[in-house]
């Protein structure tokens, strides 16, 4: 746009509507070009593969024949598949609920203490979120080790155990969820803390004067004020938890038997490790409905925010 000179515009009076107009048009062209890398990246490496997965899911194992919904039919007959569906839902819902509760509670505690000490506590509480999950899960794996479990060592002093942390289906599910909560709760904590800080102090004072007990203050003041952020964070986390891979992969690799397989890990086992790409695609595609529902909810909020942009 820099090269349009004033004299030219005056000189070509008959050619009015050119300069600035073209400028504006060129502006949107430049804008489009500036966004092009982003569009290409998303188009080629996100949207295309996402659609390609649907196509792959309809091929036979050696990918030489189109079988329509045959793979899905096959999958529906497998017990393991239904186990995975159940486990993924159990895992995601339980973990998110507890993450949300713990995050909320901890955020409150941090909010309650004098603000000059808050930074320090917040810093310590966020550490699980900062460590790459594959690394921290290794620490858990070692804490849960059947022969050397440091937890069992402590429990043994109280005459409990040894607990087969990763050995029995129920315990293994518990362990996987626990690690997920451990890693994810700080995120909720930090989000809620930010939201808590935006609740005006006067509201609590007013509520206190109205005679509200602490739980009433939380119920009538805090929760309504934070409703949006709670919903968004929970949906967000639901997606991430539902699609979890690293924690399960490192901690139990889906075991014992298939008691902790999720869509992601099972899809990996089938698609990459067993070389059955179409069946693996089928499995991971089952995440789409829940993603879509969560995304629709988030979208509602986003469009609200988008209009401000």
């Amino acid at each position: 746009m820099a090269d349009i000179a004033a004299p030219t515009a005056t000189a070509v009076a008959g050619d009015r509507r050119t300069g600035l107009h073209r400028l504006m048009q060129r502006k949107s062209t430049i804008a489009f070009l500036m966004a092009l890398p982003l569009i290409l990246l998303i188009g080629i490496l996100v949207l295309y593969p996402a659609c390609y997965a649907i196509w792959l899911a309809m091929l036979n194992k050696s990918m030489s024949k189109f079988v329509g919904l045959g793979n899905f039919q096959f999958l529906f007959k497998r017990d393991t598949f239904w186990d995975v569906v159940f486990q993924s839902c159990l895992f995601a819902i339980t973990a998110v609920v507890f993450k949300a509760i713990i995050g909320f509670v901890v955020a409150h505690f941090v909010h309650n203490i004098p603000s000059k000490g808050q930074r320090k506590w917040r810093g310590m509480l966020l550490v699980p979120w900062v460590i790459p999950p594959a690394m921290s899960t290794l620490a858990w794996l070692w804490l849960f080790d059947p022969a050397y479990s440091a937890f069992n060592w402590i429990l043994a002093h109280f005459g409990i155990g040894p607990v087969p942390w990763l050995g029995e289906a129920a315990w293994a599910r518990f362990a996987v969820i626990l690690v997920n909560i451990w890693a994810g709760a700080p995120f909720f904590m930090i989000m809620y803390l930010a939201a808590l800080k935006s609740v005006p102090e006067q509201l609590y004072e007013a509520a206190a004067i109205d005679g509200a007990a602490w739980w009433q203050r939380i119920w009538y003041v805090t929760l309504p004020m934070m409703r949006n952020i709670i919903a968004i964070t929970a949906l967000f986390s639901l997606i991430v938890t539902f699609a979890n891979f690293d924690i399960v992969r490192v901690l139990t690799n889906g075991g014992p038997l298939t008691a902790t397989q999720l869509f992601g890990t099972w899809g990996f086992k089938l698609g990459i490790e067993s070389g059955d790409i179409p069946l693996g695609s089928c499995v991971v595609l089952f995440m789409v409905p829940i993603l879509a529902v969560a995304a629709a909810f988030i979208l509602r909020d986003i469009s609200r925010r988008g209009s401000e942009v």
Binding site: P146, G167, A169, W171, T252, P256, L257, E273
Partner: protein
């Protein structure tokens, strides 16, 4: 082409003059002059064992003026499997690739047949066992050379003290070092009783029931001992038979005496169980003992490795062969074959066995008498019976003799351990069998 030369050289190689012949071998400076060779070896679990292969390859490379590059690839987390898969799909990668167990069959179409070196090698080094034949020789074609490094037997490794104290069994007497075994009573019933006794004594047997190879190999042997097949050699699902029911019943009893969390064990769990001093017996090659020797010498002093108990259908030994294969898209196949011949010589095999502390097991019949096994200590003779020098067992692999593609999946998915766990958890026998046949049908998918 290089082919003929190699086979000619192979014949000559039957003699002790082999190494000098190799120096003179013209092929390397021929078509593939200034050759380069890349090798994907299995990353050995025994500390220091990689050094032997490295040294052998270097020796060869210097003699042949071939630039060699070695990658050590662990089998943990299916890394070896994935690497092979990636290379097969990419049609590029290492010239020589370590292919464990089922992979020669899986990549039959991408491997160069090696009959030209295998036949002379067998003549020279003695026969190979049936499991190696089953896995490596398909339709008369040798797809890969059995590798010494990595090949292993997962027989019992017992604690002498616990077995004696709780079960009243002196394993050193049953399998004496340097003498034929007196193992007539070492059968599955004895085994079960011993398991019960040791469990009562607070030091149970550590037999994993996860889906990794140690666990599958172990249960596969029990299946063989009962003559239980899930899929027969023709590929029919025969899961609903009495032998299977028997072995499941046996396992159910056995599992009562195993630790609670065996269903989640991986290949390392049994080792840790032994090394930490908790277990009275595990089914594992001597790596656990080797680690104990380093980290827990008092435990190592009580370890004794020996063959499997006999079952109704005989005495089977869980044998897990590794192979070295040559990709048919490889750029330097003749050099690869030359190196494989070199690695299959007696002295090479002995070096590998030695470096691995006796862990590695050559597949050729004439190689079972290396000194390492007789001399390993403490305690003296602990590994004497590891290679089964008196050939008392039939070496077997889980899921054999099913067609390879199906067997591989039974093996990789741990179908047998899953069945055992399901039945143990209280699922009715027929339901477990239904589940298994449903799974097996899934494996027929193509």
């Amino acid at each position: 082409m290089g082919f003929k030369k190699v086979s000619r050289r192979g014949f000559v190689g039957g003699t002790a003059a082999l190494s000098s012949v190799m120096v003179a071998a013209p092929f390397v400076r021929g078509a593939h002059a200034a050759g380069k060779l890349s090798i994907g070896f299995w990353d050995h679990w025994v500390p220091g064992a990689n050094k032997a292969t490295q040294k052998l390859v270097q020796e060869w490379g210097e003699k042949e003026k071939v630039e060699v590059q070695i990658d050590y690839i662990t089998s943990q987390g299916n890394k070896l499997l994935l690497t092979a898969a990636a290379e097969a799909q990419a049609k590029s990668g290492h010239d020589i690739m370590t292919l464990n167990t089922w992979l020669p069959a899986r990549y039959a179409d991408q491997l160069t047949p090696v009959n030209d070196i295998m036949e002379p090698l067998i003549k020279q080094n003695g026969k190979v066992n049936g499991t190696v034949e089953y896995l490596g020789n398909i339709g008369g074609k040798w797809l890969a050379v059995p590798a010494t490094s990595g090949t292993q037997m997962k027989g019992p490794c017992s604690r002498l003290d616990y077995m004696k104290q709780y079960a009243g069994l002196d394993m050193r007497e049953i399998y004496p070092a340097g003498a034929p075994p007196k193992a007539d009573n070492w059968n599955l019933d004895t085994f079960l009783k011993a398991a019960e006794a040791c469990h009562k004594g607070g030091h149970p047997f550590g037999i994993g029931l996860g889906t990794t190879s140690d666990n599958v190999d172990a249960i596969g042997t029990f299946f063989h001992a009962f003559g239980a097949e899930l899929v027969n050699a023709k590929g029919d699902i025969v899961v609903k038979n009495d032998a299977v029911r028997q072995v499941l019943d046996y396992y159910k009893k056995l599992m009562h005496y195993l630790p609670d969390d065996v269903a989640a064990w991986d290949d390392a769990s049994n080792n840790k169980f032994l090394v930490s001093g908790q277990g009275a017996l595990i089914l594992n090659p001597p790596s656990a003992w080797a680690v104990a020797k380093r980290d827990a010498p008092k435990v190592a002093e009580q370890c004794w490795t020996h063959p499997f108990p006999a079952g109704p259908k005989g005495r089977f030994g869980p044998f897990l062969p590794f192979f070295w294969g040559v990709w048919n898209f490889g750029k330097n196949q003749s050099a690869a074959k030359s190196l494989l011949t070199h690695l299959s010589q007696r002295s090479s095999a002995e070096q590998m066995v030695e470096a691995s502390g006796g862990y590695d097991l050559p597949s050729f019949a004439n190689f079972m008498d290396f000194k390492v096994w007789a001399e390993a200590e403490p305690p003296k003779g602990t590994l004497f019976s590891y290679p089964d020098p008196y050939h008392t067992q039939t070496l077997s692999i889980a899921a054999a003799p099913a067609p390879h593609k199906i067997a591989e999946q039974i093996y990789n998915q741990g179908t047998m351990t899953q069945m055992a766990v399901r039945y143990f958890k209280g699922e009715p026998m027929e339901k477990t069998l239904d589940w298994a046949s449903n799974e097996l049908e899934g494996f027929m998918r193509n």
